[in-house]
Symmetry: C2
Subunit: 257 residues, 2 copies
Amino acid sequence: MKIVLIGAGNVGHHLGLAIHQSDAEVIQVIGRKAKKTSHLAKILNCSYSTNIDEISQDAEVYLLAVPDDQILKVAESLPLGKTASQIIAHTSGGTALGVLGDLFSNFGVFYPLQTFTIGRKLEFSQIPVCLESNNEETLTKLTSLAEKVSQKVYFLDSEKRAKIHLAAVFANNFTNHMLAKAEQYCSSENLEFEILKPLIKETVAKAMTINPSIAQTGPARRNDSKTIWTHLDLLKDDPQLSKLYWEVTRSIENFYD
Amino acid sequence: MKIVLIGAGNVGHHLGLAIHQSDAEVIQVIGRKAKKTSHLAKILNCSYSTNIDEISQDAEVYLLAVPDDQILKVAESLPLGKTASQIIAHTSGGTALGVLGDLFSNFGVFYPLQTFTIGRKLEFSQIPVCLESNNEETLTKLTSLAEKVSQKVYFLDSEKRAKIHLAAVFANNFTNHMLAKAEQYCSSENLEFEILKPLIKETVAKAMTINPSIAQTGPARRNDSKTIWTHLDLLKDDPQLSKLYWEVTRSIENFYD
């Protein structure tokens, strides 16, 4: 199966590597930045271009791994018409299938639910790939591609995908922010963030095994208002941090009410 | 080194196991609940009692692994007087050293910074143990004990310890709550929480390697107000979840302002 990859950023990079290691083939990478694009093309042993008009017509699937707000613009500039038999799929969690609807006959979504960073090794086979398309034949082909790179293939319509994307904001972005605030606080108080790392690892390992709602501990969970007030007092010179402490504490209290 | 362990809950259990596996020795467990206490004593191959008056006088160190709000009460009921040469140490992050000050001559804090659950295996050698005491001799002895069970021994006064305990609330309790809310939302929307697990694992692995403040991604980080409003719209029937979404989003925006 021949693929053209449009986008050489974090998602494109990891997706390209995964396809390259399967029996599918990336035949071309299209990207805005010459250096990044050529670098990825070299790894994938394929051609590349920074000009979308030079896109190969020989692929079965065109994967749009570009930022959400670029999907429509890039799709519109693709020199594949409404009558083309090729499949065009975007890779975004938060973007509806319909964004591609006026432009192509066979289109879909190929959304790998993971946070990607160039340079970090990932076991792509364990990454859930969420699929959607406008017809059965397209879905069959996207499924075949997805199964080549991942053991975890899901079928989600745009509404469900938007919801899992929202849940992912909590699970990924908000979780990370709690760690960032802990780190910032440690740094401002001359405490080593390092001390917290074994705790963080075990917190998440536990939440993955028993459910996080069951794993919850801490002053808010046990209605320990003495400790909560001690903490708010420690934070009295940092209104932003004490506000966040207060809001999350209230949310935990409400959760178990 | 002979130890008496007071408390057979999560902390007492793991601390007892770690001491048992070192060349120190737990000679007795004191606990409120007969079943839990005898069970732990059996594992540690030592005697036990549910009556604090039956406590052995033969230990060098008495570890108070009881809930924060029980420390003073249990310490007061200990039949070791102000003139006793033994060391009494509590294991709490959020409790000051001074709570033991009026009762004993040699006292301290032996705080293992981890979330403990009976039945979960932990590499105790990697758990930071934070120490404090009222005199040098006591500190030397507590250090010796701590180094028998952990490779990570820290010296923190009560103020610093209170602060690291507060940071741990963010890193552990609040992080877990974000996962719990994601889980709850998935459940209410008939989405498998399982789909998010590879993302969660990578989120934390990444935050442990590069700093979490650098690892931050998501709509709030990139000022993607379109996605934020889409999410708030999805949450319009859940005022508690949308409030939390809003507050954490604002906190992220402020963080990177």
